[in-house]
Every structure is written in structure tokens, then in C-alpha cells.
């Protein structure tokens, strides 16, 4: 056994070392470790949160896209309906117009023909009178025989 005063020296050294370690070594190291652990944990939590948010946003976007597609289909449907309606309306209008134009054309033609007929009748009467005059020479008094002429004209 060689126990001697070295033991007391080492004991003092031990106490001093432990106190130094407790004051100047352990707290800053542990502080750094704990702070980094916190940072990492926060980062992981944030990334988790972000992933969840992304998922939510994606599902939201999908839903919106679906809705938009449905709306677009609805709009297209309505437009098609309206288009058909417009075409029908236009066709109807055009038909009516045509009928009107055709009818007015017929009427005009009729009136023109009547007028021409009237004119022709008058001219034929005149011609008949002139012809008869020429044939009968003075034997016929125009005033005396006008009633016969009128009858003739009416027969034409």
C-alpha cells in the first residue's frame, strides 16, 4: 500500500476538474446539442406540416378542376342549345321573309298583267274602231254606232 499525500492532491484536482467541467464545458455543449435537436425537430415538424398542406392543396385543386370542368361542360351545353335555337329562329324568319317576298312578287305580276290587259283592250278597241272606219268609210257615224262598238269592246 502506497497511500500518501498524492491522494489529497488528486482529490483536489478531481474537484477542480469537475467544477470546471460543470461550469464551462457541460452547459455550452449540452446547450448547443439541445438547440440543434430543437431546430431539427422543428424542421421535421415544418416539413410534415408542409407535406400535409401540399396534400390538402392538391385535393383542393383537383376538386376545383373537376368543378371547372363541369361548369365548362354546362356552358358548352347551354351554348349549343342557344345556337340551335338561333338557327331555328333565323330559318323561321327567312322562311317568312321568302313567303312575303314571293307573295308580293305574285301580287305585282298580277297587277301588271291586269294593267297590260286593260291597256291592250283599250288599244284593240281603238284599233277595231280605226279598222271599221277604214272599211266602212263614211257609212258609219261614230256617234250613232258607239253603243255597238262598246258592246264589241266589252266582248274582247
Amino acid at each position: 500500500m502506497n497511500i500518501n499525500v498524492t491522494l489529497i492532491g488528486e482529490l483536489i484536482a478531481f474537484v477542480v476538474f469537475v467544477l470546471f467541467c460543470m461550469k464551462y464545458v457541460w452547459p455550452p455543449l449540452m446547450g448547443a446539442i439541445e438547440e440543434r435537436q430543437k431546430t431539427i425537430a422543428d424542421g421535421l415538424a415544418a416539413s410534415d406540416r408542409a407535406a400535409k398542406e401540399l396534400e390538402l392543396a392538391q385535393s383542393k385543386a383537383t376538386a376545383q378542376l373537376k368543378e371547372a370542368k363541369a361548369q365548362a361542360a354546362e356552358i358548352i351545353e347551354a351554348a349549343k342549345k342557344r345556337e340551335a335555337q338561333l338557327v331555328d329562329e333565323a330559318a323561321e324568319k327567312a322562311q317568312a321573309e321568302r313567303e312575303k317576298i314571293v307573295a308580293s312578287g305574285y301580287a305585282e305580276i298580277e297587277s301588271e298583267r291586269n294593267r297590260a290587259k286593260e291597256e291592250l283592250r283599250a288599244q284593240v278597241a281603238a284599233l277595231a274602231v280605226v279598222g271599221a272606219e277604214k272599211i266602212l268609210e263614211r257609212s258609219i257615224d261614230a256617234a250613232e254606232h258607239s253603243d255597238i262598238l262598246d258592246k264589241l269592246v266589252a266582248e274582247l
Binding site: 497511500i3 500518501n4 484536482a13 449540452m30
Partner: protein, 275 residues
């Protein structure tokens, strides 16, 4: 050869001593009669140097410790700190700011002191002998230096007695003087008639803690160092054998440091437990 080997081993196992004889400082053989008032300057020197290596390295890292991406040295030191912290938290379930730094100091200091085991046994004594002979005019055979402080019982007992004081201090602080006395006298047989028996049993238990702590560490390292010295005496064959023994000490050195730390935590946690 036998006498040579004997004196060689004895030389390697002798501490450098310092004492005062007749009012002046004396060394080594002159200190044979100094008894308790002898100082093992090699133990003191190496333990202080190694303790300072530990503390200054850790302190320099602690000062520069960043909470961002750590460097390699910081990583290594943080691994040790984490390891000690985990060991403490697993065993000690109280709040005590002393236990963790105490455990770290014990672990690192004992680890470094044990690691001196790996230094070839002749290297430091030869250098010391040369310095003694060249600069101080000493006979190199009279220059002693034992470079593994934990092979000196003064060192291991200093540690374990420090721990023992803490056990007593926290026992009294947590349980009160009465509680501590009760623990010593009313266990394991809770009857007034058994108080002396209980006291003897519990005292032995209490005293056995520092003694076993110190002797376990001392015994392991002393034996390890002794074998290294024996291997050094067998000639050329020592190289592979030395390598094997050193490789084996890869286990012994950290294990002994770990056991010392772990038992310290366990004893202190027992001291904190109130029955």
C-alpha cells in the same frame, strides 16, 4: 537475467517520489522514510496533463460550438457528451446539475489515463532517464516514471473517495441526517434490537462502494500494465504478443472508464432515493 528482469519490472512499477527531508526537497530513494508525506509527482503530472487535455479540448469545442452544422471534432465530442448524458438519464431520474458533468469528467479522465497503457512501456521511462541523466546529472536507473496514473492507488482512491463524499453529502441532503441514520440502522432488519447488526451490515455496504470502485480500476490497469512490462522482457517475440495485448486493451480501457462512471451514477442515484 532473472535479477535483471526483476529489477527492470520493479523499476517500471516505481513511482517518482518527492518529499521534504530536513526542510529541503528530496526525490525518490531519499523519500523511503517519508511515509504519508510523499508525493508521486509522475502520477500527479500525467493525471493533471491528461485532465487538462480533456478539459481544454472540450472547452475549446464548447466555446466554438455552433448549433448549426457541427465540425468533425465537435461531432466527436458531442457524441461522447450525448453518450454520457444518455447513461445518466437512463439511470438517474432526478434533477441534479452535478451528476452529468461529474460523469463526463470521470469517464474522459479515466479513459485518457487508462489509455496511457498503450504507450510502449519503455518509451517514457527512457526519455525521462535521458533527460534526468543529461540535464540533472542523475543516474538513469534512479529516474522513475510511471506513466499510467490509474495504476497508482492514490489516483483511483482519490476518485472513489471524491465519489464517496458525494454519496454521503447527497444522502444527508436528500434524506436528512435522521433519514440517513435510519437507513444505516433500520435496514435490512427493521427492529430496534437489530440496530448494531444493521449498522455493521450497512456500513460495510457503504464503505465497500468506494473501495471496490478504486480497487477494480487499480487492479485492472495495474495488472494490464504489469503484463505489458512482462511482455517487454521476452525479446523479439514481444511484438506480436504486445500487439495482441494492446488490442485486448481496446476493450479494457474504455470498459473500466465506463464501469467507473456507471457505478458512480448508480451510487449517486441510490443516495437520492428515499425509502
Amino acid at each position: 537475467m532473472a535479477a535483471d528482469t526483476g529489477s527492470y519490472i520493479k523499476h517500471h512499477l516505481t513511482n517518482a517520489k518527492m518529499c521534504t527531508v530536513d526542510g529541503s526537497v528530496a526525490f525518490n530513494k531519499a523519500c523511503a522514510d517519508a511515509g504519508f508525506w510523499t508525493l508521486h509527482i509522475d502520477t500527479l503530472l500525467w493525471s493533471l496533463v491528461l485532465g487538462l487535455v480533456f478539459l481544454l479540448t472540450f472547452r475549446s469545442v464548447a466555446k466554438k460550438a455552433t448549433t448549426g452544422v457541427p465540425g468533425k471534432l465537435q461531432c466527436a465530442i458531442e457524441m461522447i457528451v450525448e453518450f454520457v448524458d444518455t447513461s445518466v438519464k437512463e439511470t438517474f431520474h432526478g434533477k441534479n446539475p452535478l451528476i452529468a458533468p461529474l460523469s463526463l469528467t470521470i469517464f474522459m479522465w479515466v479513459l485518457l489515463m487508462n489509455a496511457m497503457d498503450w504507450v510502449p512501456v519503455d518509451l517514457i521511462p527512457t526519455i525521462a532517464g535521458w533527460i534526468g541523466a543529461t540535464f540533472m546529472g542523475m543516474d538513469p536507473h534512479d529516474v522513475y516514471i510511471k506513466s499510467v496514473p490509474t495504476t497508482d492507488m492514490n489516483m483511483t482512491f482519490a476518485l472513489s473517495i471524491g465519489v464517496f463524499f458525494l454519496i454521503i453529502y447527497y444522502s444527508i441532503k436528500v434524506k436528512g441526517l435522521g433519514g440517513f441514520t435510519k437507513e444505516l440502522t433500520l435496514q435490512p432488519f427493521n427492529h430496534p434490537a437489530f440496530i448494531p447488526v444493521n449498522f455493521i451490515l450497512e456500513s460495510v455496504t457503504l464503505i465497500a462502494r468506494p473501495v471496490s470502485l478504486a480497487l477494480r480500476l487499480f487492479g485492472n490497469l495495474y495488472a494490464g500494465e504489469l503484463i505489458f512490462i512482462l511482455i517487454a522482457t521476452i525479446g523479439l517475440f514481444q511484438l506480436p504478443v504486445h500487439f495482441l495485448w494492446a488490442a485486448f486493451h481496446l476493450l479494457v480501457i474504455p470498459l473500466q472508464a465506463f464501469i467507473f462512471m456507471m457505478l458512480t451514477i448508480v451510487y449517486l442515484s441510490l443516495a437520492h432515493e428515499d425509502h
